[in-house]
Subunit: 361 residues, 2 copies
């Protein structure tokens, strides 16, 4: 078992990474302080892992379950309200712990429910997708979508424990594995060139679900993210580099409808756009962009805009993105491979040129 410490002062917590962790009651007993537990999961994950998790939680006097519909389309305030309904119907008090079993959508909504229920209860994450293991398990971002924007409603809220059972990746569809790998590649691009190189050498192993390779990639991704978050927990500065590719990606997701493009797929295309824009500004070389493109191709990730999206679609969607500050478009670009920077002064014509080159009409 690998373990990682996310250092956030009194909000610090451990991430445990390994095989078969979910079945071990000891991990839960060490970090859950009360007697009540609510497991939040979805209809896809429940048949696969709910029994294993509930067996491991047998020591707690009250274990309730709420099962949500699966998919980004259900990441809404209404769905979170179903968690509140269950907590109150089953009389969970301030000492309860919410355990999220599932991917990023389950984790984001469970964390937000934990942040808001009685103004804050304990929270444990058991992420079951590669994307949620390397992304949402570090950083404390929780929340839901609004019809007018993704993740517009939420809270910064840290868990007591993140438990990453690598075995859950065995049941992950290929397409979702690739989508998770997009975020893994992102860490290499923004802050870890050695890891990028490792990925170039080991992508085949990841795609073949080699457990050692997967555990290493997850651990290194979490460590990279934790280092960035520890510097800037509430995203007032450097943390924004984690949004590399995301402003473009969110535009794709918003216009395509959440869920039609997977988050990681949209981010992959967004990373290409951000890299091409960095190149156009003379900040990185064509060779660096080619390396990114080659790695994404190996991972079976898209690099071109959806055919039906226009430049105006992007511009409209991006101007309500959270990364806009005081009316200026904020983008994350690269000064070199492994060196992301926040840029507030992208010329609009260069942005449009890149969007066109990447397939927007």
């Amino acid at each position: 078992m690998h373990s990682l410490h996310v250092d956030l002062g009194e909000r610090s917590y451990p991430i445990l990474i390994g095989s078969g962790l979910m079945a071990d009651p000891a991990h839960f007993q060490q970090c859950i302080r009360g007697k009540q537990v609510l497991v939040v999961t979805n209809e896809t994950i429940a048949p696969l892992y709910l029994d294993t998790l509930c067996d491991a939680l047998q020591g707690f006097s009250r274990v309730d379950v709420v099962q949500l519909p699966d998919g980004e389309a259900f990441k809404t305030l209404d769905t979170v309200n179903r968690i509140f309904d269950t907590l109150l119907e089953k009389r969970h008090d301030r000492g309860t712990t919410i355990v999220a079993l599932g991917g990023g959508v389950v984790g984001d909504m469970s964390g937000f429910a934990a942040a808001c229920y009685q103004r804050g209860v304990d929270f444990v994450q058991v992420p079951t997708t590669l994307l949620s293991q390397v992304d949402s398990s570090v950083g404390g971002k929780t929340g839901v979508n609004h019809p007018l924007g993704k993740n517009m409603i939420g809270a910064f809220y840290q868990p007591q424990l993140v438990l990453i059972d690598i075995d859950t990746l065995n049941t992950l569809p290929d397409r979702e594995l690739s989508a998770g790998i997009a975020e893994v590649i992102k860490y290499g691009m923004i802050c870890d060139p050695a890891f990028f190189q490792w990925l170039e050498q080991n992508m085949d192993k990841l795609l073949a679900r080699d457990p050692e390779a997967l555990a290493y990639a997850v651990e290194r991704s979490c460590a990279d993210k934790a280092a960035v978050v520890a510097e800037d927990e509430r995203e007032s500065g450097r943390r924004a580099i984690l949004n590399f590719g995301h402003t473009f990606g969110h535009a794709i997701e918003a216009v395509q409808g959440y869920g039609n493009w997977l988050h990681g797929e949209a981010v992959a295309t967004g990373m290409v756009m951000a890299a091409e824009l960095s190149r156009l500004r003379g900040w990185i070389s064509e060779h660096d962009v080619a390396r990114l493109r080659a790695l994404l191709e190996k991972a079976a990730l898209p690099q071109q805009s959806p055919e039906d999206m226009t430049v105006d679609d992007y511009l409209a969607a991006m101007s309500v993105d959270k990364k806009v500050k005081n009316g200026k478009l904020r983008l994350i670009l690269l000064r070199g491979l492994g060196d992301a920077r926040i840029s507030d002064d992208t010329p609009k014509d260069q942005l449009i040129e890149v969007l066109r080159a990447c397939g927007a009409r």
Copy 2:
């Protein structure tokens, strides 16, 4: 103008108290950092003060308004969602500031919206009722009700500024003035016996809306509350004494339907119940209870349970109250006038005896 500093480290903020403060642009210009402002108010307060406030905000490039229905019945997640709708429709970004103009309901929902919009934006309170001036302007409790419990969904979130314009009390109905005085009396009861004595001597002036007396009572109440909150921001310990009378009061509000009994009226009756229970346990004298009763009577506040409530109504409602921790009923009782204590070991038969004595069937 009086001013008070609420000391919460990096979340510290000032409270300004005086006449005509709302019309002065300087106070807002000093604390609002961005260019966008959303004023949240309700249909009762808007005709009285919205123009004055908007005039004072003229220096900001974008001032939008959302007007909510009035009343505790509308303190719901759905109503907060209307604030999110407006913020997104009008394209407010992370640099926006939400200004709450109104009583506790407007303040609680605006603060919760500020806590959650894009995971946190700035927040200014302009409380217009005595209750909100002495209670919700200190402490950072924000949130909404759920059909199964009051304030069950929310966040701890501190404002940048609380601006208390005493002149707004001139338009407050008598019944609401009295309800606010209930919370003022509470501070004397739980931690400030000298203030309790001052209230015994100056209740007539408060009821006659003497501006000096009102400003003093508001400032002293805020100072008392700030001292308790500074010790225990997130209510892990001593802060719970602020709930004196509230566990009973919340039961009354929940069973009667929010809004039929005003919060302060329910708290007044709840304080009598808590005081009688303290006396039954031998912790305070009959004389102390009599002083509380006499002061509440002067302030035209109720002391008896609603006629249609049974002991079982109370017990059922109290067991889902947030003050329950790990299954134990937690009540705030008095060890003497001005000395509140947290008690976890109230015998059920004494509780029932007091409920009966106070008019529960």
